[in-house]
Amino acid sequence: MANMESPIIKLTSVSKVYPPDHRALDDVNLEVEKGEFIFLTGPSGSGKTTLLRLLYCADRPTSGDIWIDGVDLASLSRGQIPFLRRKIGVVFQDFKLLTNRTIFDNVAITLEVLGLGRQQIEKMVRDILAVVGLEEREDAFPLELSGGEQQRVAIARAVVNRPPIILADEPTGNLDRLRTDEVIELMEELNARGATILFATHDERLFTNTHRRVIQLKNGKLENGL
C-alpha cells in the first residue's frame, strides 16, 4: 500500500553478497523522498549497479529490507514484480534499444505492455518524442541515430508511461560532454514534472557544483544515505 508520508524509496540494512563471498553492498541504509533528484556516485565496482538492480527487482538482497512507494519488495510474488516495474523507468549506459525496430516501436513497447489502445499509444509516444526532441525521427532505426539521440530514445522509453521513479545507471557513460549535458537537462525536466530520480554516475563533473543530494558508495558501503 502506498503511504504518502513514507519515502518513495527506502532501504534498511541492505546487503548483497555474491557467491562465494563478494560483498557488493554492505549494510546500506537509504531514504529517497518523493520528487528528489539524487546523484549516486562512486568508482566502478562500488555497487551502484547492484543497488539499482535491487530496486527494480532484477535481483534480491541477501539481507535487509527495501520499500518502493510503500511496498515491501520481499512481500512481492514473482507475478507481482512486473506491476512494480511499471512504476520504475530504467535507463542504461548501453541504451538497450532494439536495433530492428523503429524509434516509435522502441518507445511504444512500454505502453503495449500496459495494454493501451493504438491511438493512445501513438499520442503518448509522439508527445514524449517531442519532449526528448526526436519527433522527426520516429521512423528511423536506432543505429541511424547518434549516441546522444539513442540515449534520449532510451529515456523516452523509460518515462513514456510517466513512472514516479526513474533509475539511471551511468546514462551518460557513452556520451560526449555536449550530449551528456542534454541528458542532464532532460532529467532535470522530468524531475520538474514530478519524477523521483536516482542518477548513478562516476562523472564528478555532473555533481561537483550541484544543489542536488549526492550519495556515495565505496566498497559497497553508502555515505550520506539518510
Partner: protein
Amino acid sequence: MISTILMKRALSDLRLRAGSHIMTGLVVCLTMLILSFFLLVYYNARAFVDRFGSELGIIVFLKTDTPSNKIPEIYQRISRLDGIQGVNYVSPEEAFKRLERYLGEEKEILQGVSPTFIPPSFEIAMDRAVFNLEHIKRLAAELKRWPEVDKVQYGQDWINRLQFFVSVAGKVVVMGGLLLLVSAAFVVSNTIKLTVYARQEELEILRLVGATNGFIETPFLIEAFLQGLGGSLTAVVVLYGVYRYLLQAVSASQLFRGVGLAFLPFSYVSVLIAASVGLCVIGTAFAMRRFLRL
C-alpha cells in the same frame, strides 16, 4: 486491446524471422505427412479386411442325419440372429448340382454317387452395416454349439492372418507416430529455444518495462499455434494429392481392381491437426518455461 497487441507482436515476429519459422513449419509438415501417410495405409488396410470379411459370409454345414422337417426351424433360428442380412438354404441336391457345374466335363466322376453324401447347409450373408470381424467370430462360435450343426466356415484362416497383419500395422503406426511426434516436439522446442535466445535482448527489455510472463509468452504460443496449424494443413493437402494419385493408380490396375481406397475421415484429420497444434504449443511452452522462471 491486449489481444490485438499480442497478435500483432506474434505476426511481426513471424515476418521478422520468416526463415526459422518456415523451417520449423516444414519439420512439422513432414512429420505430420509421414504420420498421416502411415495412418492412411493402416486405415485402408483395416477397411479392406472388414470388407473382405463381410463378403465371405458364413457357411453352416448341418449334420447329414439332420431330419428335413427341422430345416425350416433352423432357418428361422438363423434368421433371428443379430447382424444377418439373408439366409439361403442349400440342400444336398442343390450342392450336388453346384458341384457338377463346378466339375464341368469332369462331372462323370460323380456318377453313381448319391447327393446325400453332401451335408445340407445354410449360406449366411452378413449385414454390412453392423458387420465387424469380432461379431462374425462370435456368431460362428454360437452356431457351432447348436446340436444340428456339424461345421461352420467363414474363412477364419484368412481373416485371422489379415487381422494379425492389421493389428501389427496398427501398433507400428501408433509407435512410429509417437516417436515422430516426440522427435518433432524436440525439434520444435529447440527451434523455439534458439528463437528465445535470439530475442533475449527484447525479452529483457520487456521484463524491464513491466511485461508479465503471459505477455512475453503468448506471442510465442500464437506463433506455435500457427506453425502447428499451417504445418498440419499443408501435410493434409499433400496427403490428399498423394491419395488422388494412388487412387488413379489402383483404379487402373487389374491386380487391385475392386480393392478401393478411401481418404482419412474428418475425425482422423481433425485429430491429426489437433495433435500437430498441441505438439507445437506444448513444445513452445516447455521451451519457454526455463526462461520465464528467471
